[in-house]
């Protein structure tokens, strides 16, 4: 299919339709309201469902009900809205329901601001709601990757019967880039093609979709079932990119999303100055590429690992955890909607190189 120039938020909406996800529930919030403005006319065109809910609390719970149908369902929102959906996300994880949520992150805490940030790593990766669970978390670094991950997200949600969250910053949503969609649009899921969705108890036992287990043994069993699922996810779904990591690399940057793209510019420019810096970019934040970051940091030539985020430091905790002290881990970040500039990143790298011997 020919390349199209599209705004991130609209491309993401089209990607869902492409994945056969025609059931969308949302509440307006900056900086991603364009998704709803696009889908409110586009979904009826393809026979889909568009509902503007009264709140994000309601959105989360509409998804809960809709996901029990076995068809593909999704929402898009931004940080404070995702906080409100955490109730339903916890319930859907407990009830083993597939659902896709896109979080175009803005600065927080509280009402924060409306500019790009990466301050929702914790609420996405560490399970933002109550209980023992995780959601699969993916982080795109371009509009094309946002489209590709959106399509993948629905496959993962169905495969593992789990919520999947895509976290992008405001930049991914607002920026225009050329994108390509697959030729073939997927059909909607057949609700009768599985053994769990609610299709009416005609000639079979009633099905119950729930997260309530009053018997402690049954609740523990459900949690162990989730644990088993997360083990499979960790085994099969680790995704990452390494950029210019070689036997000469002295500093390994760890960054995701838009921040990783800015770091690529820095790496190219420093290369011309003869300074070798590489990039580790996790694409799946849960499952985190734990072994990859350890193995790369363990390279003899790597002196330090520098985590760069549009936050005051969240993913850096996972980098520290996974590198197990094998190399010093440093952090640089700007937040509140301020994006670190290539020059700021370079200054930080020069400062670290000077520190070493």
């Amino acid at each position: 299919m020919a390349k199209k120039l599209m705004k991130g938020n609209e491309a993401i909406g089209e990607a869902a339709i492409c994945a056969g996800a025609l059931n969308y529930f949302a509440y307006p919030i900056t900086p991603q309201s364009e998704v709803a403005e696009y889908l409110c006319w586009r979904l009826p065109e393809v026979g889909g469902v568009f509902v503007q809910a009264e709140s994000e609390v309601a959105v989360g719970n509409m998804l809960f009900g809709a996901a029990a149908s076995g068809k593909r369902v999704f929402t898009t929102s931004s940080s404070p809205g995702i906080s409100l959906m955490q109730e339903a996300i916890s319930y859907m994880a407990g009830a083993h329901l597939p659902v896709v949520l896109l979080n175009i992150m803005r600065g927080g805490p509280g009402l924060g601001g409306i500019l790009p940030a990466q301050s929702d790593y914790f609420q996405a990766v560490k399970a933002g709601g109550h209980g023992d669970y995780h959601v699969i978390v993916l982080a795109p670094a371009s509009v094309q990757e946002a489209v590709d991950l959106m399509i993948l997200a629905f496959d993962l949600a169905d495969k593992y019967r789990s919520p999947v969250m895509i976290i992008g910053d405001g930049m991914i949503g607002q920026m225009m880039e050329s994108v390509e969609f697959p030729e073939k649009y997927r059909e909607q899921n057949d609700p009768n093609a599985n053994d769990w969705s609610l299709t009416g108890a005609r000639g079979r036992k009633p099905r119950i979709v729930k997260s309530l287990f009053l018997d402690p043994q049954k609740l523990e069993d459900n949690s162990l079932k989730l644990a088993e699922k997360y083990k499979e996810i960790k085994k099969n779904e680790v995704r990452y990119e390494l950029y210019k990591v070689s036997a000469k690399t002295r500093i390994l940057i760890a960054a995701y999303g838009t921040m990783a793209r800015i770091c690529q510019t820095v790496i190219d420019e420093l290369e011309e100055e003869g300074i070798s810096v590489g990039l580790f970019r996790p694409i799946s934040l849960y499952p985190f590429p734990e072994k990859v970051i350890y193995d790369e940091a363990a390279r003899k030539n790597i002196e330090r690992v520098l985590t760069i985020e549009m936050s005051i430091g969240q993913m850096v905790e996972d980098i520290e955890r996974c590198t197990k002290g094998i190399k010093p881990v440093d952090f640089f970040g700007r937040t509140g909607g301020i994006v670190p500039t290539p020059n700021e990143v370079k200054d930080k790298i020069r400062e670290l190189l000077a520190k070493k011997k």
Partner: protein, 253 residues
Amino acid sequence: MINDATTIFKRPEALSENITHYCPGCTHGVIHRLVAESLDELGLRDRAVGVAPVGCSVLIYNYFTCDFLEAPHGRAPALATGFKRVRPDMICFTYQGDGDLASIGMGEIVHAANRGEKITVIFVNNAIYGMTGGQMAPTTMPGQRTTTSPKGRDVSLAGYPIRVAELLSTLRTPSFIARVAVHTPMHIITAKKMIKKAFRLQKEGRCFSLVEVLSTCPTNWGIDPSAATKWVGEAMQPYYPLGIYKDPEREES
């Protein structure tokens, strides 16, 4: 002669054989049966999905033979909205108590009704939180003693009980809203008619429907079952008048 015997009363197909956990004198069992009979008579059981609340009837899915979803506290109308929009060919109903619907779930019920979702809501009002042990609800009567209003509901601090049927019938969107009671056989007969009509309107794809049912809670009211049925008639009914508040069939005629 035995061959001429005909069954005139049996367990509705929509009710399971499980024994309910409800307290003696509680009317949840009666209301469950009215819902089940309505599903049977309209032929809806095998394409119905119920949404269970949080509260005493949280385990309602054990007592029915149709598919069920279990909602977070108060959110049943949002789940029902999501399900019904994706499967308009199926029947979806919620069964909610007064703490669930009129307190934590007030936002969800008002907007589901206002959007005119084609769902049926069975709203059981017994003027108290039952499962958590008898705390004050938004529907608790003025002066009524509960564990969080030990001197009686003080309307200067807690306001007056919310009349849900009246409140929802102010919405312009067409709907069917009725209030019934189940404390006497006569009231049960009317309640059945209203509940069946609510499901029929959904079956016909007409409108949102809600039936508020005045119910008992002898355990948390601290009185015996027969005194509890009397209390529904004497204390609750004057404040919560019975009848049809909104009817699309009346509006059209």
